[in-house]
């Protein structure tokens, strides 16, 4: 379990080794505060959606899930994309309303990031990986939390680097996006140094 957690945080970091959520990663990383807000929102949403999507897949979509209704051969697996994205959108919406009602300060600081997360590829990607790798319920809980933490860690450190880079005198063509990609590449190398670390 702890192994899986650290693997999803460092070694299989969604942003840096699977390129998931890179669009948001590059667009919302100009300041550390906004990056932190997005990172927290990401951890919350990720650790809810992955287990819930796991339950949906096991209970409704998997081959044999309808055996109790006399349809043992029904395989609705092809519907997983559309149902996952629907549930992610629904969960984000519910979360937004709940936060607005009970924790208005947090809601205000997360701001526009919550709805944005619906179309972040990292969320859908984590759910799809969960299906592909056949995690069970507890594993998918850990995986959801771990991949959220990993993504948040990556974007906060990246934003910190970018804040400093604004003062740097870089070549003209490299300014902005070009340099952002190269920094991400170097960070990705750094994270891949964790490959193979196992707890005794």
């Amino acid at each position: 379990m702890i192994d899986l957690f650290f693997r999803s945080v460092f070694e299989e970091n969604l942003a840096l080794s699977f390129f998931l959520g890179i669009c948001t990663f590059l667009a919302v990383s100009k300041r550390v505060e906004t990056a932190l807000g997005l990172g927290i929102a990401m951890i919350i949403v990720q650790s809810i959606t992955v287990p819930v999507n796991h339950l949906i897949f096991q209970g409704l979509l998997m081959e044999g899930a309808w055996a109790w209704a006399g349809l043992p051969k029904a395989d609705l697996g092809f519907l997983k994309l559309i149902s996952f994205i629907g549930f992610i959108a629904a969960i984000v919406q519910i979360l937004e309303m709940l936060l607005d009602r009970y924790v208005p300060t947090l809601h205000r600081s997360l701001g526009i990031f919550l709805p944005l997360i619906t179309v972040n590829c990292a969320i859908l990607g984590a759910s799809l990986f969960m299906v592909e790798r056949r995690y069970d319920l507890s594993e998918s809980m850990v995986y959801g939390l771990g991949s959220g933490v990993g993504w948040a860690l990556a974007i906060v450190t990246f934003a910190a680097i970018r804040e400093r880079l604004r003062y740097a005198d870089t070549p003209e063509g490299l300014r902005g996006l070009g340099l952002a990609f190269i920094v991400t590449g170097i960070m990705s190398m750094g994270f891949s140094a964790f490959i193979g670390i196992r707890l005794p």
């Binding site: 959520g21 559309i82 994205i85 300014r175 070009g178 952002a180 590449g185």
Partner: protein
């Protein structure tokens, strides 16, 4: 009309490239660029989905209520992606295994949604189709370029055919294992952007050094 249609098609290929300038749709695609054949399959799938979704959305754009337009767009895109995914599974099963979840992730590819939202919702069907096709081609161009570099230097081959003789087979080329890892794709795109921008100076971003300039957060994804 014909001329402007053509410009919708050609503009996004280099001048307004979706990846290097608009910063869209990088997410799900870079992981498939370790070899040319996967990148090509991914490109074809994306162009198909993008063109079909832009066409459909543009066709019904006057009947979509603005308040729920995102839901409708996502539903249309997701249905098309499911079709593409099933198609791949039926006719190219090996390839669908190698692409794993990344065909499914076209759903959340910001490029598809961005073209639907910013172009197809406001334009007639024919320009929307051309715009989608042009953006798809621009995107595929970057994808194929990155894949060519990575496969050629990482495995010494193109489309799985050996081009540079490897040392293990008695040749002279020592493959760079680094090219097959994730960081290399970031470097290649970074350098590619540098190359494009040193040719086209209008794409260079303003220097933010004074730090008073308000920056624009463009929340796509």
């Amino acid at each position: 009309m014909a001329k402007s249609n053509l410009s919708y098609l050609t503009n996004p290929i280099v001048d307004d490239n979706p990846v290097t300038l608009q910063m869209l749709g990088i997410c799900s695609a870079l992981a498939v660029t370790t070899s040319l054949s996967t990148a090509l399959t991914m490109s074809i799938a994306l162009i198909g989905v993008l063109t079909a979704s832009s066409g459909t959305i543009s066709l019904i754009r006057n009947h979509i209520p603005t308040s729920i337009r995102l839901v409708i767009q996502i539903t249309i895109i997701a249905s098309l992606v499911i079709v593409a995914d099933q198609f791949l599974k039926a006719f190219a099963y090996e390839m669908s295994l190698r692409l794993s979840v990344f065909v499914g992730l076209i759903v959340t590819n910001c490029l598809v949604l961005a073209r639907a939202e910013s172009f197809a919702m406001h334009n007639r069907v024919i320009p929307s189709l051309f715009d989608a096709l042009g953006n798809g081609l621009g995107y595929s161009l970057i994808l194929l370029l990155v894949a060519t570099v990575r496969e050629l230097l990482g495995a010494g081959s193109l489309f799985g055919m050996p081009v540079l003789p490897l040392t293990s087979d008695g040749g002279w080329f020592e493959p760079l294992g680094f090219m097959l890892l994730a960081p290399s794709a970031f470097f290649i795109i970074g350098l590619l952007i540098w190359a494009i921008r040193s040719r086209r100076h209008n794409q260079v971003e303003v220097n933010e050094f004074p730090l008073i300039l308000p920056y624009q957060d463009k929340p796509h994804d």
